[in-house]
Homo-oligomer: 190 residues x 2
DNA sequence: AATTACATGTAAGAGGTTACATGATTCA
DNA sequence: TGAATCATGTAACCTCTTACATGTAATT
């Protein structure tokens, strides 16, 4: 069973938008797909080469004024077919997300310092709240500057996932702290 | 900035429970930590060797009746100190979980077949519901066979995270389908 | 003069998956 | 006899991160 190369499809998908250079792809993912995807230049540039080799994209070098030159990549018909095929393939499994905080929590009975555990969760909640604020800002900017483009609907749906997931994690964090503080080993579990 | 080796701490943490062999560690993670961690034998066995080399654990070979022999590993004082130190270190960043469904959704305006997108989400929801059912079963079994051990509280907290995260994802899925079915940004095509 | 943004790339290595290889014991 | 469970391990491979390397142009 071969491992699926999702990076390939992520880049191919972005090439269908107006982002065409490695630099722009990186920016796009960091800015708009950051709640469910990430990528590094160490993946992007070699993959762009591979796409050209496989004839899924072609490259056009562009001389820019006031900026360094850049290489722009465009998806081919073959590339579109490959992307389309992937889009039509159902997700085979819901992936397990590793969570370092939960791993620590799982072994927390080994450590006597309950306060420290609570502090970890509190800091986690803070980070989640920052993330949530970013999502709300993005959502606002889509609504405000919205073009009514069809993409928009799907972008808002993915953003909604981020919001809900983050919100649920915050609520869990607060409940977890309450449980630990309430300190009922044998007692009431809500 | 070196990458943290979480696998090391996961195994070290499990060695503080009554799971002592590579095989048992694998089972423990697959059964009890499966909602936030996963591991393969290709990681476990080499890491157990490394732990012994680093004097964080020692090994005792055990001849078993009616079963193949096994190697049991025990955490050393040095190992406990390393684990404790990690437990006390705050989480530096909330990791981004890659989500293949969201990636597809983000590019879904490229594909005309709206029904197929809905089907993907529906299948995703089904898998989440199966997962949720497993969590509820585990929770019941902890409550029923519960020993009142301190571990139990923390196990339930991690399980609660899994439940909430899964529930939130299911609710998102239903909302997303409703949006796609009802909400046309540009009015219905096809 | 220094920093930031724009821009492209590579090499080493960490981390993880998968397939393979081996073998004992139990149960249907 | 065959499958399942128990048990340990390795090698090849893939994916991704990080550090490094280079350079232009604009801004402070």
């Amino acid at each position: 069973m071969a491992q699926e190369n999702h990076t390939k499809y992520a880049i191919l998908g972005i090439l269908t938008t107006s982002c065409n250079s490695g630099y722009e792809i990186k920016q796009m993912i960091d800015n708009s797909l950051n709640h469910f995807w990430k990528i590094s230049y160490g993946q992007i540039y070699p993959m762009l080469k591979t796409l050209v080799t496989d004839e899924l994209a072609y490259v056009v070098e562009v001389a820019q004024e006031n900026k360094p030159d850049k290489k722009t990549y465009f998806i081919t018909e073959k590339g579109r077919a490959v992307l389309q095929n992937w889009l039509e393939t159902p997700i085979e499994k819901v992936s397990i997300e590793k969570n370092e905080l939960l791993l620590k929590l799982f072994f927390s009975s080994n450590q006597k310092k309950e306060q420290l555990t609570i502090k970890h969760i509190e800091q986690y909640i803070e980070k989640l709240q920052e993330r949530l604020a970013v999502f709300l800002t993005i959502e606002q900017s889509i609504h405000t500057h919205g073009t009514g483009h069809l993409d928009e609907q799907y972008w808002l749906i993915t953003l909604d996932y981020g919001k809900r997931a983050t919100q649920a994690a915050i609520e869990w964090g607060n409940a977890a702290i309450a449980t630990i503080k309430g300190g009922n080993v044998n007692g009431e579990k809500d």
